[in-house]
């Protein structure tokens, strides 16, 4: 069992409150996933040619001056890359850096300077938080309530297929501005992972959900729409799933053909909210007049920005 939440804001109205709206939704679904949690939050893009990198740095000493440590890294990376790197936010687990959109170059320079660093998400719009522990504590630690943005997805994890580590936490964000959260379990993930490896796409964990994220990433890179990519998941992957996937522009949900895992959608003029359980959206403004429904088995719903 896991919990999924998502909020796609159609208007400007609640943008400043995005984090404040998402936090209680995630907290409410702790019962579905008490061991880990994570979020992807989408806000206005950085300039063309640049990406936001959500970087976890395991060796940061929480008792030391992390700001200074990150500042040093920013200077070193700017030098190594020959282009400006800036720090948008210092986090308890690392930092959000803004650097060139040459992901491979940036990642390898980063790894040279800080072998203990991991890029957990990147893109012009996205910031990714992945952590282990209770969702309430994670939201507090990362000050999620202060985040603004136009879209967010979150996940509370009850691990069934692989270990409880930060890397195994959701969302999985292997491509620019792509984030996937999954409730369920894929049974043929090893087969699909091998198939992807043959195509030069490697997973970094043995997690089943990461395979689905990489599969979707592959198709989107080839120009597929998110809807088409989700259809491919239905064809290639076997198992139980409710998926919430976003590219920042497209925000989509799908349940497996048996509808084994729950999903509730609420739509108003101002937002689309999706949660594993209705109870997790009762804190939203205007929920009483929202159109509430459950996607039927295999039905893909996409909202575009």
């Amino acid at each position: 069992m896991c919990g999924i939440v998502g909020l796609h804001l159609k208007t400007e109205r609640h943008r400043d409150a995005l984090g404040r709206l998402l936090s209680p939704m995630l907290d409410c679904l702790e019962t579905r996933g008490p061991d880990s949690a994570g979020l992807a939050i989408y806000s206005e893009p950085v300039a063309e040619g640049l990406f936001r990198y959500s970087v976890r740095i395991d060796g940061l000493d929480p008792d030391a001056d992390t700001k200074a440590e990150v500042a040093t890294l920013v200077v070193e990376l700017s030098h190594d890359l020959g282009s400006t790197v800036t720090c948008e936010r210092v986090r308890p687990d690392g930092a959000v850096l803004i650097a060139s959109d040459q992901v491979e170059t940036v990642s390898s320079r980063l790894a040279e300077r800080r072998p203990d660093a991991t890029v957990v998400g990147f893109g012009r719009h996205i910031e990714v938080v992945k952590d282990v522990g209770r969702p309430r504590d994670i939201c507090r630690r990362h000050e999620i309530e202060n985040r603004s943005g136009y879209q967010g997805v979150g996940h509370t994890r009850m691990a069934t297929e692989s270990a409880v580590t930060i890397d195994h936490s959701h969302p999985f964000a292997p491509n620019a501005d792509l984030a996937l959260v999954h409730n369920g379990s894929f049974s043929n993930h090893a087969t699909v992972r091998r198939r992807l490896a043959q195509q030069g796409i490697d997973c970094v964990t043995d997690n089943d959900s990461e395979v689905a994220a990489r599969l979707i990433g592959r198709d989107i890179d080839s120009g597929a729409t998110l809807e088409t990519a989700l259809k491919t998941v239905g064809q290639e992957m076997d198992g139980f799933y409710t998926l919430l996937v976003t590219t920042g522009r497209e925000f989509a949900v799908v349940r497996d053909s048996f509808a084994c895992k729950p999903l509730v959608v609420a739509e108003t003029d101002e937002y689309v909210a999706v949660t594993s359980e209705y109870i997790a959206m009762t804190s939203l403004p205007g929920i009483g007049s929202a159109k509430v429904f459950e996607p039927t088995p295999g039905e893909i719903h996409v909202w575009e920005r």
Partner: protein
């Protein structure tokens, strides 16, 4: 209308007791319900999607849940009459033994799963697997039901006032399903059978108790087991 908010009432016959979820844990709400004398009327306020409300009650209570509720509402009950003025999540009235559970909105998956007795009425739609493993209860759905409804239903009656999704009545045993609308597809070993006068009477009774005014008992489709998969015979040698 009497109001009790601080402590659980011991007796409240004749009055309506109010229990406000906003200030009570689910455990407190259920404990208060369990302590009520038979015949009590209860209004449960602010459910806001709360799970596990009004479960395992074995006295005859009149319970109104004023709003949308979550999973397992009315589960395991043996006696009370529960009405939800809203929609509910998964597994409404799971394993109901007797009494009535009525939902004025929609119900999510596995509605009335394994219900042994009593009446479950959903005025709106239910999603997948309504009446799964039904064991003797009556389930009346005013609207549509999702796929795999009636799966492995062993005994009892299902009435679907709207349309049925795919794989209706898969692996049925002795339960019988009546459908007023269309059937997307039948499940394995389910078949459409001729409607008898006994069926019409059974449906009429159910329609009346459900309070449906859009189902004509003479015009429903009867779905029951073809008994190609279900052929258990206790007198045969134990080869199963």
């Amino acid at each position: 209308m009497g109001t009790v908010t601080d402590t659980a009432p011991e007796t409240a016959a004749g009055n309506t007791v109010e229990l406000d979820c906003a200030g009570m844990s689910t455990r407190e709400v259920n404990a208060a319900l369990h302590e009520l004398a038979a015949g009590s009327r209860v209004l449960v306020l602010n459910p806001r999607g709360r799970h596990n409300l009004a479960v395992a009650l074995d006295q005859e209570l009149e319970i109104e849940i004023a709003g949308h509720a979550g999973y397992f509402i009315g589960g395991l009950c043996d006696g009370p009459s529960i009405t939800v003025d809203g929609f509910v999540g998964w597994s409404l009235a799971e394993n109901l033994m007797s009494g009535t559970v009525r939902v004025r909105g929609n119900a999510s998956e596995c509605c009335a799963a394994s219900a042994h007795g009593g009446l479950i009425v959903v005025h709106g739609d239910t999603s997948s697997r309504a009446g799964i493993s039904l064991k003797g209860a009556e389930l009346a759905v005013g609207g549509d039901v999702g796929h795999m409804s009636g799966f492995m239903a062993q005994a009892g009656t299902m009435l679907i006032g709207g349309n049925a999704g795919d794989a209706l009545g898969d692996s049925l045993y002795e339960a019988v399903i009546y459908v007023a609308g269309s059937i997307a597809s039948l499940g394995s070993d389910a078949q459409v059978e001729d409607l008898t006068q006994e069926d019409v009477d059974r449906v009429r009774s159910l329609v009346e108790r459900a309070g449906f005014d859009h189902v004509s008992p003479e015009n429903v489709t009867r779905v029951a087991s073809a008994k190609h998969l279900y052929n258990f015979d206790a007198l045969k040698e134990q080869k199963y």
